[in-house]
């Protein structure tokens, strides 16, 4: 562990900006912080609480052209260039990137995701405060857990405790003026955990429970929960016309949308709001772990905070554990 003083932070960020693009939490409006390209190191807010959008869009953009074709220019694949330093990623969001790797890097890997991942160094940031919606400790991580990051910063009085976890992280830290650390690692804030393994064991037996219908009464079938989720990765693809050809565009989509499973025949296997809402829980706590051996949730609590009608994933998990989901 080394120490990076607040006074030496600016110089380090400037050097990262010289090596590539620096993406970090930036305040855009009062109360709105987003991972954004940094123009001046002074914009970076490393005391941010939460960004509505996790840094997943750096690897899996909300919308991107996969390729273009036209009679005049033939077939073109937009290039991915340069190096990116992604700074200020909380442990939940670093786990989110790890979870996105399962679908996107399992063979055959998604070439665009893989390329962006290869070109990006993730610099994690410990959480000194927990938010009321946090439950990251349910998934084997914690507020000061450096796993899934290339380098990790822990805020302490006067600066940060700093540690490189990978070669990429060491390279990113090479230009930082570091000192010997004399401050111990602080005690992490308390975050309560839910026994998600126990949820997984009983989940399938509750598939037909009327619980889902009751919960779905207030669901709006919007896509906020999925779009703010660091591990939701569904997308749709369609061709858009250009001046003299077309481009194939991939965009975020969500199982909460009534169009998501509608088939060309017109049949929709998930016709009700309840079946769509249920799918969100089952994908995260049953199907994803069955397929990849990890839960499809990081405990960041964004869906809890941003759901306009307070569908609280933790309440559902607890209801399953307490057997309330079995109400007849």
């Amino acid at each position: 562990m080394k120490f990076l003083s607040n006074g030496n932070l600016r110089g380090w960020l400037e050097s990262l900006m010289g090596m590539g693009s620096l993406i970090a939490p930036v305040d855009l409006e009062p109360g709105l912080t987003l991972f954004s390209q940094v123009r001046d190191p002074g914009e970076v807010n490393l005391e941010y609480e939460i960004t509505p959008i996790p840094p997943k869009d750096l690897f899996f953009p909300s919308s991107e052209a996969l390729f273009r074709f036209s009679p005049s220019r033939g077939y073109e694949i937009p290039r991915i260039e340069g190096e990116t330093f992604l700074l200020g990623v909380h442990p939940c969001d670093a786990l989110g990137i790890r979870l996105m790797d399962f679908p996107f890097l399992s063979p055959p890997a998604d070439p665009r995701y893989e390329e962006r991942r290869r070109r990006t160094t993730i610099i994690g940031l410990g959480c000194v405060k927990a938010r009321p919606e946090c439950f990251c400790t349910s998934f084997g991580i914690g507020p000061l857990d450096p796993s899934n990051a290339d380098a990790f910063l822990v805020p302490v009085p006067g600066g940060f405790l700093v540690e490189a976890k990978t070669g990429k992280g060491a390279r990113a830290l090479a230009s930082a003026k570091l000192e010997e650390a004399s401050i111990p690692i602080p005690k992490p804030p308390e975050v309560s955990a839910i026994d998600v393994e126990a949820v997984r064991k009983v989940a399938l037996s509750l598939f037909d429970s009327p619980y889902w219908g009751r919960l779905a009464d207030r669901c709006l079938s919007c896509k906020v929960c999925a779009y703010v989720c660091p591990s939701c990765y569904c997308f749709d693809i369609r061709d858009y016309p250009t001046r003299d050809g077309a481009e194939r565009v991939r965009s975020w989509d969500s199982c909460q949308s009534p169009l998501f499973t509608r088939q060309a025949s017109g049949y929709d296997p998930r016709q009700t709001k309840a079946s769509r809402l249920r799918n969100r829980f089952y994908h995260k706590f049953s199907y994803f772990p069955d397929e990849f051996g990890a839960f499809g949730c990081t405990g960041c609590g964004r869906c809890v905070r941003y759901c306009p009608v307070n569908i609280d994933i933790r309440e559902t998990l607890s209801a399953i554990l307490r057997g309330e989901a079995r109400i007849a």
Binding site: L220, Y227, Y306, N310
Partner: protein, 283 residues
């Protein structure tokens, strides 16, 4: 007030007058509120009402078609119910409306209570619901309107040069992630197929980009002209902080100027955009 709401809802459910009563219960933060659907007299005990009850519950009525339901309605919710009845989406006889006199609701978000009134409540001219079967609370003496002390956000924006206004909306729409929360929470957005989901013709499609976001946000606002009751739920639901209510209010004020019409106030008043008269003035 809460006791009276619970008792009334319990009566309606017990007597079989309604199958379900739509109101509010405490949210999972223990501080704010969320919509609640009570199906039995016992469940009516979970109902609450206070300044954190921000949701426009009329949004749920089209989902309940064919079922007789009870609903708790603030003045803005009641105006939306009128819009839905007038537009043929809700049968008046299928809904038992428990109106509640409203002193305004707060700018709360989950986990963050506040005692600051929502801007919409400063502009709102109604403290008593415009339609109800049963009223809870004492209607205040007329006039009911509050007046915002400072100029409105619409006026403030209109005083800026066009280039600045363009940049204002460009930067906001560029952030839009098209999660459809604004649409899905809106009591007036009930189309079985939204123009933004239409594939042929392709108005926006699934692409999330500035041109598509622009068409979506402007199209959404225009479709609500003369129908929006300014409940501001779209803006509250937006995770990206886009000030959609400014567009809604501008359109509502134009409709009022041109047609003397305010959405949902009078269930019999003809709709400005669905009424044709011979020899009518071309605007």
């Amino acid at each position: 007030m809460i006791e009276e709401i619970r008792a009334k809802a319990a009566d309606l459910l017990r007597s079989g007058e309604v199958k379900c009563f739509i109101g509010y219960e405490r949210a999972s933060d223990g501080l704010t509120a969320r919509p609640f659907f009570a199906y039995s007299a016992d469940e009516a005990d979970r109902l609450i009402f206070d300044g954190t009850c921000v949701h426009n519950l009329a949004r749920y009525l089209p989902d309940m078609r064919g079922k007789r339901v009870g609903i708790l309605a603030k003045p803005c919710d009641s105006r939306s119910i009128n819009v839905l009845i007038r537009e043929g989406q809700v049968e008046r006889e299928e809904v038992y409306i428990v109106g509640v006199v409203c002193d305004g609701v707060y700018r709360t978000t989950w986990g963050k209570p506040s005692l600051e009134l929502q801007p919409r409540c400063l502009y709102c001219s109604k403290r008593t619901p415009v339609v109800y079967d049963y009223l809870i609370g004492q209607p205040p003496p007329a006039p009911e309107s509050r007046h915002p002390a400072s100029i409105s956000e619409v006026e403030a924006l209109e005083r800026k040069p066009a280039a600045e206004r363009w940049e204002f909306w460009r930067s906001h729409f560029a952030r839009c992630i098209r999660c459809n929360a604004c649409r899905q929470i809106c009591p007036a957005c009930y189309c079985p197929q939204c123009f933004s989901d239409q594939l042929d013709p392709l108005w926006t499609g699934i692409r999330i980009g500035l041109p598509q976001n622009w068409v979506w946000n402007v199209g959404r606002a225009l479709h609500l002209a003369g129908r929006c009751v300014d409940c501001e739920e779209c803006q509250r639901a937006c995770p990206m902080g886009i000030p959609l209510a400014i567009l809604n209010r501008k359109l509502a004020s134009r409709v009022k100027e041109l047609f003397g019409f305010e959405a949902g106030m009078d269930p019999r008043a003809p709709f400005p955009f669905a009424t044709f008269e011979n020899e009518e003035e071309i605007l």
